[in-house]
């Protein structure tokens, strides 16, 4: 029996380069999946295109107190949206979403930013053994096993 509804995917990224890369990677997936975008950059919600965007609190290693609202928001989104997968290009909020999804039946995919040439990003190194799939955009950083390389967006 074929499923009539598309699988729901959460796509999470911080503003700037992370967000732009996420959009470039997810755009070709929009026909196949129901993608909900999540970002701590409130300004993106005014974009004219039709994609669904949920705003969340930003948090990083420098703002540990903001972790609490962020975690609560992410859990609420998981319960409401029931995604089958999460994709993130970074930075901290995406990594936290992947950490939280660890105990849930959600596949987690981390695509490290193209800006990380010499080693995986700080967030990437933290969730390297937690995400179900880790992808680098630089071949030398791939180990052909845990960290995959499938080309870059440029």
């Amino acid at each position: 029996m074929t499923k009539l509804t598309k699988q729901k995917i959460l796509a999470i990224a911080s503003p700037g380069g992370h967000w732009i890369q996420l959009n470039k990677i997810c755009k070709p997936l929009e026909n196949q999946f129901d993608i909900v975008y999540i970002t701590p950059g409130a300004k993106y919600s005014t974009d004219k295109d039709s994609k669904r965007i949920i705003n969340i609190t930003d948090a990083s290693a420098d703002s540990k107190l903001k972790l609490i609202p962020l975690v609560l928001q992410l859990i609420t989104i998981f319960i409401k949206e029931r995604p089958t997968a999460i994709i993130s290009t970074g930075a901290a909020p995406g990594a936290i979403a992947i950490l939280l999804a660890k105990i849930l039946p959600i596949k987690t995919i981390w695509v490290d930013s193209i800006a990380n040439v010499a080693q995986l990003s700080r967030s990437g190194r933290i969730i390297k053994n937690i995400a179900d799939k880790v992808i680098t955009q630089w071949e030398p950083l791939s180990d052909g096993h845990k960290i995959s390389y499938q080309g870059s967006i440029l």
Partner: protein, 170 residues
Amino acid sequence: MIFVAVGTQFSFNRLIQYMDEWAISDSNKKQEIVTAQISDGDYLPKNIEYERFMSAETYNKNIREASVFVSHAGMGNIISARDQQTPIIVINRQLALGEHRNDHQAEGLKWMGKLEGVYTASTQDELYSHLNNIKELMPATHSHVGNQQLSDYIADFILHGDGKASLVKL
């Protein structure tokens, strides 16, 4: 028009000052109008138009219409420059000058300079020498940003890949 942007996370007074001075220098003689997005920087330019933040629409329009885009060494702007077919000069923020939390933009400059349509500068002199040869700066020959193979790989993993054994059923 030359469009200058420094991102939204940090200020980049040094770059704004370089561009402010270049705008009235002999090599420009006010031929090119300079427009800048300066974030929360406290250096307020005198010779160029500026806004602290711009709408995405204005921002992309400026990149598209600029003869060259001058930017901090951020990935987002490099991608946008390619999207809009505009050559870009990137200059790195320096940790030593308190312009960023780390020096990854300096490392980034090495490979960014190998990308088509991307020119790099780490000093005022290097920046000015690009600007003084503005006619020679070329955009990338193709504007496509994205990678079908990468996106297909992710789709295949979502549909058929091995997830972990979940501990909780929603």
